[in-house]
């Protein structure tokens, strides 16, 4: 009995230590905020990065924390995008923040319904089902083109000012800060969740579902919960897309979007919350770089990045990247490195 309570206290101490804010995190967020004032000519691309970061965060919740490999995460992004677009276009909900939530909840509902399909079967079935759902929604959106606008997409979306105060401007300044605030709030929520006992149980499931079930974790219910929750995040990311660009077309459901998203997350690292934001920054820089060299064939180089990352090995790659920072820290502090590779990746 005594041993057990000590062990529990140990686990609790370890978990709360991991949940404490690190100074580097505060620097990271301050830096993001500062970007809004430092680069006023780059609002559009920075907004894109924030949106991608949120979307990648959503994938990280299911892939990095729960180990579900999804090839169709764009499904929820698309629902959020069309949801927000339709709400604004028909003037149903004019207030952007409420519309954002409504679109996110629509994606949540679909996420909840489809989660029952996803928790069945092995990896391969999951891949197929998630991919199938995204393709299905794309086909539906194409079929009901009287609602979705078909291949032309939704046109003529007019966004009302946020809280009735801040109107979306041409340079995307309001869009940027709006996206940043959304990302930050949702990040805090995700941070709270992954460090909660719920989040710990997810990691147990990822590492070994059988053992997790044996120690009493309700595996399927946890997976349904996290999948639904991730769908909410993806829906919000999609809604942000529509609200900041005033555009929603069929390609929100595209396979390439889901595939690129995996690359974003893998570049940043799965299984820790900053993987999404960091990956989004690197991915966008890479994409910009490649498309300035070869405007038409940048996809080739993105593909090459995929292949190289896998061949080199994700864990090894992160070790290489962190080698210099670790060396610096070791020199300065005279201690062992504190910047480490995120714990074992999803399989």
């Amino acid at each position: 009995m005594v041993d057990q309570s000590i062990a529990q206290a140990e686990v609790g101490r370890y978990a709360s230590a991991a949940a404490r804010w690190h100074w580097s995190e505060i620097v990271f967020w301050c830096f993001l905020l500062a970007c809004g004032f430092l680069f006023p000519s780059r609002y559009l691309i920075m907004t894109e990065i924030l949106r991608l970061a949120l979307f990648a965060l959503s994938l990280d919740l299911i892939l990095g924390y729960a180990g579900i490999v999804s090839l169709g995460h764009a499904a929820f992004f698309g629902i959020g995008a069309y949801g927000a677009g339709l709400l604004a276009l028909h003037g149903i909900i004019n207030e952007p923040v409420i519309a954002l939530l409504a679109a996110g909840l629509a994606a949540t509902a679909i996420g909840f319904l489809t989660s029952f399909l996803v928790i069945r079967g092995v990896d391969l079935t999951r891949l197929m089902v998630t991919l199938g759902i995204a393709l299905l929604l794309e086909a539906l959106a194409e079929r009901y083109s009287n609602i979705t606008g078909g291949t032309d997409g939704l046109q003529g979306i007019e966004m009302a000012p946020v809280f009735g105060l801040f109107a979306f401007d041409l340079f995307g300044k309001v869009g940027f800060f709006y996206s940043l605030a959304t990302l930050f709030i949702l990040f805090l929520l995700a941070r709270r969740i992954v460090h909660s006992p719920f989040g710990l149980s997810l990691r147990a499931i990822r590492n070994n579902p059988l053992r997790a079930a044996a120690v009493g974790v309700p595996v399927n219910r946890r997976l349904i919960a996290v999948y639904t929750f991730a769908a909410f995040y993806a829906g919000i990311a999609g809604a942000l897309f529509t609200q900041t660009t005033a555009l929603a077309s069929l390609d929100v459901f595209a396979f390439e979007r889901s595939a690129d998203l995996m690359l974003v997350l893998v570049i940043g690292g799965t299984g820790y919350l900053y993987g999404g934001p960091i990956g989004a920054v690197i991915f966008k820089i890479l994409q910009e770089f490649f498309s300035t060299i070869t405007p038409q064939y940048w996809q080739f180089w993105i593909g090459l990045v995929f292949v190289v990352i896998v061949l080199v090995g994700r864990a090894r790659l992160h070790r290489w990247i962190l080698f210099v920072p670790n060396l610096v820290i070791a020199q300065l502090k005279g201690t062992k490195a504190v910047v480490t590779v995120p714990e074992s990746d999803a399989s």
Binding site: L127, M128, E142, M262, Y297, G303, F306, L311, R314, A346
Partner: protein
């Protein structure tokens, strides 16, 4: 009535074609447990080789088909030896990422070399048009596909069931460790099978240029179809994927003919329902690993 039969005929031809395209994937994905989303890229390579030979070098169509097979098989063997074999033991996520990367690269590379528009292969006059068979319109080209693919299927079945190589492959798939303990060179068997599957895909790609259309986005557009064939068909035998491709072919043709507005919706729904109902495929066995 005749329109039903004609549709059925077209569906069978389409299904046969899908089988030849996808049966290589049935081995890599179903048997070797490797998620290879880039299978369509090999098919596309074969199709483009055939197109270049026929349209630009003036080869006869039937002489170019074997070359489509050979070139795709060589590309497949080279990639298997250099890249794929390092990834057999890696996680599915790694395999997915790797093969998506290959797809993106192949799409952009073909776009760069051959241009982004759809290309057609010049067919010999004997294969064009259709004839009436008791009132049922039968396309000559589709008939040829059924004949070729039917022969290939029978041959595959024979090789797998009756030859020494077939039993080695089945042994290697069932338990790679025990098979190599018995002196079977498992990597070699896998490499050969992989290359052969790629070759078949290349042949399928060359045959499908007329029916499915050949453009640089081929691997992405038809990826889901190949995956459906394998996951729905299961992986315990070659008959599973074969029946699944026939079902898919007939279903898709019928769906496009009778409910054209629903588009691919029918196929995806059926696939999801089947996978929910039987996660290991219609004709599959319980997951081995």
């Amino acid at each position: 009535m005749t329109s039903i039969l004609t549709n059925l005929f077209d569906g069978v031809a389409y299904g046969m074609l899908l089988f030849v395209l996808a049966c290589g994937l049935a081995v890599t994905l179903g048997l070797m447990n490797f998620v290879n989303l880039a299978h369509g890229a090999f098919a596309m390579a074969g199709g483009y080789v055939c197109a270049v030979l026929v349209n630009q070098s003036g080869w006869p169509f039937f002489a170019a088909l074997p070359l489509a097979f050979v070139s795709s098989a060589i590309i497949g063997a080279a990639l298997e030896r250099t890249l794929y074999r390092h990834l057999y033991t890696r996680s599915h996520l790694d395999q997915v990422l790797f093969s998506i990367g290959l797809v993106f690269m192949s799409v952009a590379a073909v776009d760069y070399i051959m241009g982004s528009s759809r290309i057609f292969i010049k067919l010999p006059a004997a294969l064009e048009g259709q004839f009436d068979f008791f009132g049922v319109g039968i396309g000559r080209y589709r008939l040829m596909i059924i004949v070729i693919c039917g022969l290939l299927t029978a041959l595959l079945q024979l090789v797998l069931a009756r030859t020494r190589f077939g039993s080695r492959l089945r042994a290697a798939v069932d338990d790679a460790r025990a098979a190599s303990g018995l002196g079977i060179n498992v990597p070699q068997v896998f490499a050969f099978t992989f290359a052969f599957g790629c070759g078949l895909a290349g042949l399928g790609g060359a045959l499908s240029a007329e029916i499915l259309g050949l453009d640089p986005y081929f691997p992405l557009k038809f990826m889901i179809y190949f995956l459906i064939v394998v996951t729905v068909g299961g992986s315990s035998s070659i008959t599973g994927p074969f029946l699944a491709s026939l079902l898919l072919g007939i279903g898709d043709v019928a769906g496009k003919y009778y409910v054209p507005k629903m588009g691919p919706f029918v196929i995806y729904t059926i696939m999801i329902v089947i996978l929910i109902w039987r996660p290991n495929g219609l004709f599959g066995r319980p997951a081995a690993r």
